[in-house]
Structures are given as structure tokens and as C-alpha cells.
Subunit: 283 residues, 4 copies
């Protein structure tokens, strides 16, 4: 029997859970996991349901579609455990690539890495080691033209591989507003800082200069407004007065890869729903 | 409109969520929070639902009762925000009493402390400060007779005050098996250690001797099998080689009161369900 | 035998440790704790030494004074365990006052609270409970005149009680630049946020709106540049999408009091030295 | 100019710091880091000093040797940054090997991995990827004979490569008492549990059955008394009621590799000194 994951959001009103549960019960589905959240501020209702069911996708989609129409839902249906097709974008820092590739291979992350795209050649050997297709897509001198052609190439890769998720795994280029909009909610970035602190360049040097006692990392969806996209996950590590910037950086890398891996995993399992500038995370 | 909290458990099978949600929808109830868990090992299903509803308690109980019979449920219905009547049992350590009394008064804990019971007079001034009835119930020399009469007195206090929850807030006496059984799932203990480590006396001295780098605390339901009751919550703090036992103890007290306050709050909000030797915590 | 704590800073160069240790050895002192840090960026050297010694204060001060002159040191000598005379300034939030007063009484904090000063009457009962002198020093309408006279009164209290440390334990008034300068390095503030995030008013509401997954608190020395004083300690707690602002606030209070207690304790034990905008914390 | 790291321990008495600092000052050494600890229980004194000095090793050793004799010290002198020659022993779990190899290559760990030794062929490709010599040393059927010959082979590898440290990076074989004694204080093990909890087999299954809310890992020196060696570092991760054993294992792996990497780094930097059953960690 297949287990399905259904996510949905709609304006909050009585009867939603009953309608959804009723539709699934009508298909002899057994709900194995269910979480919901009504946001009193936005008036929106969010739900994630896992249901074991012998009916096929069409039958389920039909049943849910009827309920969806009744409640003006945005909804999505997927198979639990299906590996989400994912592109990793990197520059020269290896730690996130290593970590995600390792976790994919060891079965900890339900993703299929369809391509590693980089503006440098540096990390090709790591992609090779894990048997991942590597695409060198240079951005020469940061010129507008070069960026545009790089993004066009990225779009070609995303489309030709049927990619669903783009992970900026320490990719040091800013994506265009247009690309962020087109792939809204499908690009995850790891920010090497505890947002909203220390935006911009060299955050660990900024953190060191400010004398902070904790450093952090933030995984968020990329939006046109740089570093302001909805936050998915954050974590911190403790630093001391005698930790030089290099040590902060090493510790920061550990936090980054941990935070990014969690965010990617939750996204791939459809555990994250967008609620305006915020995220609902059913973990 | 009142918001109700319904908790239930029963053997897992298809249709439970639909039946519950349908019953509540039939009363025009609006589900505002819902969590569930099917334990593949015990085959049991657990659910906690908050529902805003204009129907009165009897109508809701009737509707749920019908579903409950159909699925062989154990279920409970309460009003959200109602303060659970709670007895605190203490000996001479003040930190947990202080913390719980402060949190009650500042509205952070949905409990009403009906009595502070102690085998010592030491903490009476704190109870007085917070305006809490204090009962000195001595256990003289730890004799069986004295314990028995102390427990009888405790039972009288619990009954006469309509107390629903007993919190062992660093009460240094062992309760009888009989009392643990009679109040099963209604007595919360804070263990000054990270169970299953360091059971028994002087855990911080044991931890120091062993040279651990983390100390912890565990809140659990009291059972006849001392220190083996279902764990509700645990947390830790980091220690260094030059922290003497007294420092471990001070840090340990901080962890204890934090962990105990969380456990009491979750219990009072009906967020904890028993699943054999384990707890399901819907937080 | 008395144990002394010596703290010092000076331009870094060879021979400092040997000179200090030699001077103390000349007095038959036994060094029981010693920490040091040379900051490569500022070129400054920092040291904290605990020494058990039968010589009296004058003899030790003379010996250290000679070394101090040789190396152009700023230094301080105190008795280990002496309780630092401390004023707590509060407004209406009780959690930090409760916590510090409780820790003083239970011997966890080496401070003697000489006065609780507040611009409100709200917390007088708590001060009374702990037997602490309470001074109501109103700031009427926030007028410049009223602030000035309140600060004058605060100065009188600080001087007449021989107070060494002022703790802003959720005191919701901004101190004048002049007072911050006069008591530089002797005023500790708890900021209800994870600086440098969310400065200014209602940080928990800001944090909630931004959808952060961690909230934090920062203890720092107060300076004229609000919220920019040297950071002493920071900590965080994890929040979820369904935690309303009130819940963030309750969790935030827990973090605040923990962080503030650590900062006050370290200061009272002379574990914090100022290194420009940063702190050296020998814990 | 070379920076040296000196570690020492001896019976505690006045004058040790002065004597050491004086000896180094006599060589025009500049102490850049210094930490010490006097254990009141064992009466032992521990110290770690980093000193920048133009004198060569012989001169320094001579000066320290004289002081060492005076105070009956055990002491060690090494160059800061020298990479410690290290053998990794593994079985089939890849996470610790991956992590340590990655950290070595990226310059985060001051070790030189001289060999990867395994009783299985499984992880050879990872060793190859990182360019590390891989030795398959099977232990057939766990027979005493096979174990003996495997240990003899391990000793040969350790000796022929001038290896100073052996890391049991999830090596699932028990070493002989004799080997543990011969390499006392030079074998680091990662225990997949929060010692002293859950010794023995399948700790994550044990932890799940017990319903713990935190899982942890412990790095310790290996001794003949299995799982009882001096603890170096511990850390934890939070688990929920609905995390199956496999999830606990995945989270546990993250904790394990983090904890092990810290322990190996501290050992390689001579930050750990043995104090009976406990460790002094100068980090």
C-alpha cells in the first residue's frame, strides 16, 4: 500500500478537517500523520496529512479536488518517500555539498540530486566522487550579461532534469529577481549568519568584531529581497573571546550544513508551508 | 465561544480522524489545533484536538462518546485554559517551588496550586509569600508508620481540594507503590539527573566523579518502579572539569526547574498521553 | 588563608606571566586559577589569577604595583568570595528581580543587593519578601527634568550604599550618556533580544513577525550608544510557527533571567575584562 | 618564530607557575596562551602553555626539564600546528570517517591520517577519495586467534607509520586489554550514547524503548574497562515521540561525528590531560 502526503492551505473556517478526513475515509485511507495550524493573524489554515491508501493517485486527487474547491484550497499531493529532484548550486566552499551528497547517498535525505551547478571548477572532484553530474556555469566578472546567460543555463538544467528544488549550498552569486519569482518557494538558501543579524559580506568577521557569544546560520527561501525570505530553520553555536575569525568560520560551517540539511529534508517531505513572510514547519 | 481540548487513544485503524472531525463538524465546531500519532509498535493511536464550539459540554461529550464507543477509545474532554488543581510536594530545596509558584502567578502555567505539602517547615515562608496554603506533613524517622500516616494525610488534602495533579517538586521521600498506582499518570516527579544515568543518591557527586561533560534533569511520571516511570521531558547543561560539585548542583537546579515547569505545563494542557512506558507529547 | 583574585591588562610583550607569577611566588602565594588572553588585534594582554596567600592586601598590592608599573598595567585586586555591592533597577517585569534575589539568598551569586530601585511601585512586595530595601524613584512622563532628578537620586543611592555594580534588570528607562560614562563597565543591561537583531521596542513581536525559529537574550555593559555596549553573554530558545507572541515572551523571560544571572555572577567574580568593544570572559 | 605547546602535571604546591613562566622568560619566550587547574580532590596540578620563542627545542626542553625535576612533573613539549599522526579504525559506518577526513583536508583538524584500518572492505572508496592508505584487517568470526592477528597487524601499522593517536571511528570490535594499556591515553573512542546511559548493543533501540527525549554521544579514551574510560566530550540532540529508531540513529550519527571531531582536535592540540578517571580539557 502506498502512503501519500497531502498538504493544503485555505481560509480558516469550521469543517475543513472533517471534510478532508471524510474524503480520505471514503477511500478507505488510514491517516498515519496529521498536523494543522490556523494562523489567527492571516486567517489562513494549514494542514499536512499522511495517509496510507490503496486508491490510486487519480482517485485521491479527485476526492481532494472536490473538497479543495469547496474550501478554496491550494493543495498538493505526493507519494511519501519519493525523492525530490534537486539541483545543488555551489561556489568553492565544500562543506554543504559534501554533507548533502553524503546524506542523499546514505538514505537520510529523500532527494535525488540531478545536478551540481557551480560558477567554479573547484568542487568538481566531490561531485565526481558521489557520481553527480557537474555543470560549470561561470559568471565572468559578475557582468549583467554573464549573469543572464548563467541563469539561462541554470533554467535549462532545471527544466531538462525535471528539477523541483534548487538549493543554494553556499552559492556566492545573487539570483535575479525574476528567477526568484519564477521559482518562488522552490529555492532554499543557507545564510551564513543568524538572520536578521549581520547581513551582507563577511558575517563571521562582523560577528567577531561585535564580540558576539553565539554565531548562527539560517536556512530560508530565496526571494527578490535578499536575506529577507521566509525563515525555515536556524541554529547557533557558542563562541569564546579567543576564537579567531577562522575558528568562527569553521564552527559556522558546521552549523550551516546542519541547518541546511534539516531545511532540505523538511522541504522534500512537504513539511514546510508558506504563510506570508513566515513558514509553517510541521516537523 | 469556548475552546475545548479533546484527547483520546484507541487501537489504530482507518477512519478515526474522519469520525472525530465529523462529530465535531456536526456541532459546528472549528478545529484550531490537532495532532495525532499512530505508534507502529503498540498499534495504538493517539490524538489531541482543540475545537472552538458553541455547543455545551454535554452535547460534545455525547457526540464524542458515540465515536468513542465505536473505536474503543479512552478519551478526555476539558476546557482550554482551565487551571488544573495541583498540589506541590516539597522538602527543603526551594528552587522548583519558587519557579512554579512564580509561573502560576504570572499566568505562564495553567495550574491552580491548591496546597504546598512538605515534610519540613523550611519552605513555609515562600508559600506564604505567594499566598499558597502550606501543610506540614512530617515523616518522622522514615518509619513505615509515619510514612503511612503522611500518605493518608496527603490523600485527604488531595481529595478535599479536588486536586488533579501532584507534583513532586524535589520531595525527597519515596511514595508507596499503592499511592503511585492509585494516582497513576497524575504524579509528576523531577529527577535531578539525566535518566537512565545516575539513579539513586547524590547524582551530582556521582556525575562529578565520573567526569561527565553534561548534566541533566528528567521529568517523568512517578511509578512504583522508582525512576523508571515514563519520561516527559529532559534537558542538559554543559559542565567543565573545574566545576566543583556545588557548581554542578547550582546548574542542575536551573535545569531541573526549567524541565519541571515544561512538564507541568504540558500536563495541565493535556499535551501528554501515555503509550506504555513511553509518553506521546504533543507540544 | 585568604584567596585573592587579581585581574590585569596591559600591552602584550614577553615576560608578563613570569613577572606576575614571580611576584606572587615571592609572597609564598599558591596560584589556584589563572587565565590569560593576548588579543592579536588590539595588542592587549589580559590576565586573571586566583592566588591563596597569607600576605595581607598591602603587601600583595605593593608587589603587584611594582610589576604593574613595569608593564603599564591596569590592575585590580579583590578577595575571592567577597560579595559585590549591587543595585538592581527594575520597572514592572518581575522575572529578573525574582531570579537574582533568589540566587543571592541561596548563595549562588556573590553579590549583596544594596537596593532595588524602580520607577514603579509594582515590585515592592517582592523586594520586601527578600528583605531588600526598595526605592521608588518615579520618572514622570519621561520629561528631561524628571529623568534628571531620578538619576540624581540613583547616584545618591549608589554612593550612600557604596554600590559597585548597577544591574538593569528589565529597567525600561534609558540612562543618560553622562551616567553611562561615569559608571562605564559597572552597569549591566539585559537586552530582550539576540543582539544585534531586533533593536528597539517590542522585540518579541518583531521576532514573531519575522518568523524566526530562535529567540534570544543578550547581557551587555550599558554604554551611551544604546544596545551597542560590549556583549557579555547570549543564549537562545527554540520557537515554533504556532507560538504566539505571548509564548515567545514567556520563553524569552526564561532566557533573559538565565543570561543575566550568568553575566552578573561573572562580573562579581571579576571574570570579565573589557577589550575595546568586546569582552574577555574567563569562565 | 615557532610557537610551542607545553603540557604538564605534578603534585600541586606554590611556585609552579612562577617557575615555568620564569624558565620561559629566561629564553625570551612570549606566553600566548596559558591555562591551569589544581584538582582539590587528587592534589594534582595541570597546566598547558603556548609560548612563542626563538630558542630551539633542545634549549626549551633543557629549561623545562630542570623545572620538571624540581616539581616532579610529567611534561610534554610539541610544536603548535604540527599535525598529529593518526590512524582511523572503522567498520562499515561511514559518517565519522567522512567527517574526519573532510576536516583534515580542509585544514580544520591538525592531524595527518596515516592509515584507515577496517575489518571490512566497505569504506575503501571513501579512503581512496581522500587519498588515504586503506588497510583491510579482517577479524574472522571474532575468534581469539583472528583478533590477535588483527591487533598484531594494527600494531605493525601504528609503528611503521609513526602513529601517535588511534581513533575508533565507529570500529565495532573490542580491543584487547593489553592493547588498551599499551596505548593508554592514545586511543579515542566514540560511544554512540550518552554515557553512562545505555551501554552495550543497540543503544538507539534501547533509548527509543525507554522513551528518552534526548539522545547523545560520548567521546572517551579507551580503557580495558569497556565504556568506562575518561570522558572527553559529550553532546545531545532532542528527539520526539514519533521519531522511529532509524531517525534516532541518523540524528545520533550527526552528534557522534561532531563530538568525535571535537575530541580528536583537542587531543591533537594537547588540550586534554588525564586526571585519574576524569579529563581536564583546556579549550
Amino acid at each position: 500500500m502506498t502512503t501519500w502526503v497531502l498538504t493544503l492551505s485555505c481560509p480558516d473556517r469550521p469543517g475543513i478537517v472533517a471534510a478532508v478526513a471524510g474524503a480520505l475515509a471514503g477511500l478507505e485511507g488510514n491517516i498515519t500523520e496529521s498536523q494543522q495550524f490556523g494562523d489567527p493573524e492571516t486567517g489562513l489554515f494549514f494542514m499536512r496529512v499522511q495517509v496510507a491508501c490503496e486508491a490510486d493517485r487519480e482517485l485521491i486527487a479527485e476526492a481532494i479536488g472536490a473538497v479543495g474547491q469547496q474550501f478554496a484550497m491550494t493543495w498538493n499531493l505526493d507519494e511519501v518517500g519519493r525523492r525530490m529532484r534537486t539541483v545543488l548550486m555551489v561556489s568553492t566552499a565544500a562543506h554543504c555539498l559534501h554533507d548533502l551528497a553524503y546524506r542523499q547517498r546514505s538514505g537520510q535525505l529523500p532527494v535525488e540530486i540531478t545536478a551540481v551547478v557551480s560558477n567554479h571548477e573547484t568542487l568538481r572532484p566531490i561531485a565526481d566522487f558521489y557520481g553527480l553530474p557537474f555543470h560549470h556555469v561561470p559568471v565572468v566578472g559578475g557582468s549583467a550579461e554573464s549573469k543572464e546567460s548563467a541563469e539561462a543555463e541554470l533554467r535549462r538544467i532545471v527544466e531538462s532534469t525535471g528539477t523541483e528544488l534548487v538549493v543554494l549550498a553556499r552559492y556566492m552569486q545573487i539570483l535575479s529577481d525574476e528567477l526568484c519569482r519564477d521559482l518562488a518557494g522552490r529555492i532554499i538558501n543557507i545564510h551564513h549568519s543568524f538572520l536578521p543579524s549581520f547581513k551582507g559580506a563577511r558575517p563571521y568577521a562582523q560577528a567577531h568584531a561585535r564580540g558576539v557569544k553565539l554565531i548562527g546560520a539560517t536556512a530560508h527561501y530565496a526571494t527578490a529581497d535578499l536575506d529577507e525570505g521566509p525563515i525555515i530553520e536556524q541554529d547557533v553555536a557558542r563562541v569564546e573571546h579567543d576564537d579567531p575569525v577562522a575558528q568562527l568560520q569553521a564552527m559556522g560551517e558546521d552549523v550551516e550544513r546542519r541547518v541546511l540539511a534539516r531545511a532540505v529534508g523538511w522541504h522534500a517531505e512537504h513539511r514546510i508551508l508558506l504563510d506570508g513572510r513566515r513558514t509553517v514547519v510541521f516537523h
